[in-house]
């Protein structure tokens, strides 16, 4: 997993409340493999980005040339609400985003983002609205998200503090996911396993009988 420290990148304002995980990753993509070169980048907000004929909607913000390299989305309230589908965070990642800044996020979605190295930051609604205003005023302008200092630096230079649990912060800074954390205890797991298998040798394995 890619560590997250300080990110300065183009941010796109996405003024659209309650974008649920079903919009982030439409259901029809949920039966699809995710492989390099065939990832969920295309699926991300597909029905908002494209019309019924598959043509990009010119009036949708992410289709504007200024936001082609956006790595940050300034989202609206409850981004990522709805079903717990884990592919939604993959869609965000595969589209090329590294951070989301918004008033609120779906809880499970937010956890899934962090698991994949995406920082989803909650700021007050008025702060986000002001951020949108500045981003709209200068399309393609960059903002900075400083995780060690826990601040978002707006285009006007104003610094906005955000909260994040120390554990999540550390995982993002180190770029470690849940498996990395667990495998730090690998020796303990192996000892436990050995003892358990010795004590209960009858425990089944799925070796053909």
């Amino acid at each position: 997993m890619q560590p997250f420290t300080v990110l300065t990148a183009v941010a796109a304002p996405l003024e659209f409340p309650n974008i649920d995980t079903g919009m982030i990753l439409p259901g029809r993509y949920m039966r699809r493999h995710r492989r390099p070169g065939h990832d969920y980048g295309e699926a991300f907000l597909y029905d908002l980005r494209f019309d019924e004929g598959g043509k990009p909607r010119a009036d949708f913000i992410l289709n504007e040339p200024a936001y082609r390299d956006a790595k940050i989305l300034a989202t609206d309230r409850d981004f990522g609400c709805g079903s717990s589908r884990e592919g939604a965070a993959f869609a965000v990642l595969d589209y090329g985003l590294r951070a989301l800044v918004g008033p609120s996020f779906g809880e499970i979605f937010q956890v899934n983002c962090i698991q994949n190295g995406i920082l989803a930051v909650s700021l007050g609604e008025s702060v986000v609205h002001e951020l949108w205003r500045q981003l709209r005023a200068r399309p393609g302008v960059e903002i900075t998200i400083d995780l060690p200092d826990k601040v978002v630096v707006a285009p006007d230079g104003k610094r906005h503090r955000f909260d994040i649990s120390p554990l999540r912060k550390e995982r993002l800074l180190r770029g470690v996911d849940d498996i990395d954390v667990t495998l730090e205890y690998l020796e303990k797991i192996e000892r436990f396993e050995m003892a358990r298998r010795t004590k209960q040798p009858w425990l089944p394995t799925a070796v053909r009988k």
Binding site: R28, T182, L183, W202, A206
Partner: protein
């Protein structure tokens, strides 16, 4: 003296490796089941990360959700939907690439994961079992701690580490004492429990089912009860091992044998909850007062004894509940105060991890013997072994002679992942576990009940009391 402990606490503590400062426990996973579901996400991610399975032989991949229950001999040609076919193929590839044992669709052991794990003896007392499926608690009927995990990250974590991080739930004991009246089954017991405590009633608890009615119940019945723990909000449901458990296990292919059996028995006998144990929550049910149940709404708690009527939302005080009932009746196209037995049905489904074991098929066949159904329907045995057993007993003939289709094994019309759906607006009497809007297909109207009650409805053409079937 050692503090008295519950069955759940004993098994949980046996599997604790680490307790995190955030209050989650790293637990050792003895055995993990994998279905097609979203598991390809886990495998895709593991591939991208270059990770492998730590203990492949402690997993069993089972193809159950996306398999057709018809035309299997045609192979993939029998699967017209390319997306569904692809999901089935992905589990074939993923289990092969990661070296995981796999029961695929032409395997003589093929069946629904939660039917075959107990059937083959993979689910044993004292084990910690996980599966990327919400009905994993089914296996708890064997005295195991069986918990659902997410099909993406959590499954990926179990494959890579053979461990899982879980937050310890509180404990709840549900005691069902007394004798169940005629035609009242395990399904009616669990539907009554969910009706009483609601779909969130056991959220945050590991439930132990106990009492004389459970003790007198077969393993099949216990599996049905534990299966629907999640519909009461509990991720874990279990029954303490006893002679019924041991007898069931003794015939299973993967159960311990010889000297191991003796040692295992000695260990298992120490597992049941200690006599004076404290549970965080208690619920008692009088078995003698239970009746055959049917659901009328779009939540598993929306049920009633079959001689009841469709509720009138205007008489419900709680505002949220009233709104739910209004919406449910609109979706279900039902009018308040209609006697439930007047609700006409269009088809039936007998199957799913809830009610597809041999005892369930016998109960349905007993009702159908010498009778004809008035609506179409399918019967899908829970496993290929159940299918063989049923055919040896001649049950397949009874179903076919009555006018139902005798199919292969799989999750099938329970949620229609395999494309076997209830049509929009069609009303189905079903032995399954969930009656959510769209669960059996878009616009499908589902009524849940026991296998015998579904059989009775199939004969009558409407919801019917199996005790009074002509």
């Amino acid at each position: 003296m050692r503090k008295a402990r519950t069955l759940f606490e004993k098994i949980w503590s046996e599997h604790e490796i680490i307790l995190s400062p955030q209050g989650e426990t790293l637990l050792y996973v003895d055995f993990n089941l994998i279905n097609e579901g979203q598991s390809f996400l886990a495998f895709d991610q593991l591939r991208l990360e270059g990770r492998q399975s730590r203990r492949p032989e402690q997993h069993l991949a089972v193809t159950d959700h996306y398999l057709p229950t018809i035309n299997r001999n045609l192979g993939t040609a029998g699967m017209p939907n390319a997306e569904i076919r692809r999901v089935v193929e992905m589990l074939d590839e993923n289990s092969r690439d990661f070296g995981l044992p796999h029961i695929g669709w032409f395997d003589s052991d093929q069946g629904i994961a939660h039917v075959i794990a107990p059937e083959l003896g993979f689910a044993q007392p004292g084990m910690l079992i996980t599966c990327n499926d919400s009905h994993t608690a089914t296996n708890g009927a064997c005295g195991a701690l069986a918990a659902p995990i997410g099909g993406g990250n959590q499954l990926r974590h179990v494959i890579a580490t053979q461990t899982v991080w879980l937050k310890k739930p509180k404990t709840m004991r549900i005691s069902i004492d007394g004798r169940l009246p005629e035609a009242v089954t395990a399904k009616d017991v669990i539907l009554s429990i969910i009706h009483q405590i609601g779909v969130g009633g056991a959220t945050g608890y590991a439930v132990e089912y106990t009492g004389s009615a459970i003790q007198a119940m077969s393993m099949e019945g216990r599996l049905t009860i534990c299966n629907m723990s999640i519909e009461a909000g509990a991720r874990i449901g279990m029954v303490g091992p006893d002679d019924t458990t041991y007898q069931f296990l003794s015939k299973r292919r993967y159960a311990p044998v010889g000297e191991h059996w003796e040692t295992a028995m000695a260990y298992w006998k120490g597992l049941p909850s200690d006599a004076d144990t404290h549970f965080d929550r208690e619920l008692q049910l009088d078995a003698a007062r239970l009746a055959p149940m049917v659901t009328w709404g779009t939540s598993p708690e929306d049920s009633s004894p079959v001689d009841g009527i469709v509720p009138d939302p205007s008489r419900v005080g709680d505002q949220d509940r009233r709104r739910h009932i209004e919406r449910a009746l609109e979706y279900m196209k039902l009018v308040p105060a209609t006697p439930l037995e007047q609700i006409k049905i269009d088809r039936v489904f007998i199957g799913s991890c809830t009610n597809s074991r041999i005892e369930d098929l016998r109960a349905a066949a007993d009702v159908l013997r010498g009778r004809r159904v008035t609506v179409p329907g399918i019967v899908s045995p829970g496993s290929s072994a159940v299918k063989r057993q049923a055919e040896a007993e001649g049950l397949d003939r009874i179903f076919v002679d009555a006018g139902l289709e005798w199919r292969d094994s799989g999750c099938s019309m329970c949620n229609g992942s395999n494309g076997e759906l209830v049509s929009p607006g069609e009303r189905c009497a079903s032995t399954t576990n969930r009656n959510y809007e769209g669960r059996q297909g878009r616009g499908a109207l589902t009524h849940i009940m026991s296998p015998a009650m579904v059989a009775a409805a199939a004969v009558a053409g409407h919801l019917a009391d199996v005790r009074r079937l002509k």
